[in-house]
Symmetry: C2
Subunit: 371 residues, 2 copies
């Protein structure tokens, strides 16, 4: 892994990245991402789609799943495991469903295509399910759910992945972190978006503890014997993430494996390639699934808006413990960061800046950081 | 509440119920349940539907959600909040969706009706969503998901409920325990079924600790100030269940509130009546939602069977920690108990036996316990 093993601080320091990162303009980061992808042979429309997923994710403050991923995607685009000219297409379909063959295109390209199919079919039938095979890592699941909510529908998105998460009692990994996200519109306000992994915590949190030399709380990891450990240095080679809420997270991960993997013809569990660690010249054959429910087919929009706003307002007004902040709906923190990013730019942490520099180098370009 | 406040041991003891409960035949318990419901004015077909839900749940060993509920349902049937002659009907529908008006029928009657509509529509369209309003407590969510799996489909079921579960930071309850269940077929074997509340633990576990005078582990409950407590005696009047995995359980509960409540026209959060504690002459107006995905529409059955069995076999063979049992898929424990119940009878715990005796008395019958 070489470079992967160097600490973030080392890598960022070696590139002269300021310790507190840099602030970049939303549009400038988008333009950079498009340029880099185009340099790797991705068509303009697909590059724009991918850039919107990644930069929106950064703007939400979810830096683990934003443009930081670009470098890894470029490696696969260059090696052939991701096909720059891959064209997702409907392999089979019916009234309220479709199976999309991702054609080893970028996960963002296949996923946006699939969610748009789900939205179109849900507008006709009320609900639709679209499964995807031959996809790759798709970034933040929440983006695709949000696409549906932006169009006025309830959206769900999920994906399988190479195993990294234990089941209760297991010694090692059994399922992927198998993320699931949903979003629903809130009549004239920002949509509610929940994007969660089915593990107790994302691997990124364990990495961060490892880099800082800190132990992690009990309950996050098991060691190679299958016993709880707080030693972050074991991760990822010699420790495994635990499922969220034990059998509940494990059970949800299984459901996602069925909807995104078994039913789509994608690879399943250990057959799924690691988008980071596996041979970059081979497709990973990830699976994904997208559901959309069209609200206006079910009830008048004004009635929905009134009902959903009443629910949201009730939660905002709920009494909180002394010293606790008022309750939020999922996604509110992300939207606050998004609005700050639109206004003031996106404050990229140093590891993202270093990664963008390396991404640019892969295609002979440069990531110009304002200083 | 009177009788509700007496301990299980007191109530069972007063009725002469053996300390280790009684064993009843599957068919005898079904016949008893049908007889009691018919005595309360429920038509034969609806009584049989309800009995099958409750007795199957007991046979799975989920005694908190089986025939123990009969007594409470009978009270509402007699008081008018549940309508013995209520007829669920499709209030609105389209290609892959329907909204069912439960007509204050038993939750089991409305839910089986709705899942059957979802199955029929999914066979045409690939997937279907059926929402229900004017329903009541529906027992074990897993039963309805299993109906779909028995028919060869993937099934999901969920319901809202009167609030009993906190959100992260809240002082009291914000959402119901909002259960969600799924089931999928496993080619010639018993279906996988997961039935989970979105709370950390079911209220029944806290009741059990309270009755035994035991404290509960930290993380299950918050006190009236919104702070963690291990004092089981505070529940339910002065303590609130926590959401499973914090914001994840809270977020799933919200999604269920939208799919089962907001989109169906059912009551939402605090408007939903407590099926136990609210005025039994008034409907509770619970909401529920059912989804079915027809596997054979998506891929050849043999291919699905092969893929799902490979997944299940892989999990069964996964290495486990020293001393841990081999991994199970959700529902395997319940099926083992079900098969024992078919063979040897259902071993009802004393609280269920006492409750069945009280149920029988409500309609002037008797629950004859073998001795």
């Amino acid at each position: 892994m070489g470079r992967e093993d160097a600490s973030v601080a080392e890598r960022a320091g070696a590139r002269g990245v300021p310790e507190d990162g840099v602030v970049v303009d939303f549009d400038a980061l988008t333009a950079f991402t498009v340029r880099v992808l185009e340099a790797a042979g991705v068509a303009d429309a697909d590059a724009r789609t991918t850039a919107d997923v990644l930069v929106t994710t950064d703007a939400w403050g979810v830096f683990t799943h934003g443009t930081k991923l670009l470098r890894g995607y470029l490696r696969r685009l260059q090696a052939g495991g991701l096909r720059p000219a891959g064209r997702p297409r409907i392999a089979a379909e019916g009234g309220a469903w479709a199976t999309v063959d991702g054609d080893s295109s970028l996960g963002m390209v296949a996923s946006v295509f699939a969610m748009n199919v789900a939205i179109a079919k849900a507008r006709q039938q009320g609900i639709a399910y679209v499964g995807v095979r031959d996809s790759c890592h798709f970034g933040a699941a929440g983006y695709y759910a949000w696409l549906a909510a932006e169009a006025g529908l309830v959206g769900l998105s999920m994906a399988n992945d190479t195993p990294s998460v234990a089941a209760p009692g297991s010694r090692g990994a059994v399922t992927g972190s198998n993320p699931i996200a949903y979003a629903f519109p809130v009549g004239g306000r920002r949509p509610v978006i929940l994007d969660m992994s089915t593990a107790t915590v994302a691997g990124g949190k364990v990495y961060a503890a490892r880099e800082a030399g800190r132990p992690i709380p009990e309950g996050w990891l098991i060691d190679p014997e299958g016993l709880p450990t707080t030693d972050s240095s074991l991760y990822p080679g010699r420790a495994t993430l635990t499922p969220a809420a034990g059998h509940k997270g494990y059970g949800l991960a299984l459901l996602i494996e069925v909807l995104a993997g078994v039913l789509t013809g994608a690879n399943i569990t250990w057959q799924v390639g690691s988008w980071i660690a596996s041979d970059p010249s081979r497709p990973t054959f990830h699976g994904a699934a997208f559901l959309a429910i069209d609200i206006e087919v079910l009830m008048p929009r004004a009635r929905y808006d009134e009902r959903i706003r009443a629910l949201v307002d009730e939660i905002h007004a709920a009494p909180v413990a002394d010293g606790a902040h008022p309750l939020v709906l999922p996604g509110e923190h992300e939207w606050a960061r998004y609005e700050a990013a639109e206004r003031d730019g996106i404050h990229l942490p140093p590891d993202v800046v270093a990664s963008l520099g390396e991404a640019a180098e892969l295609v002979g370009l440069e990531f110009e950081t304002p200083s």
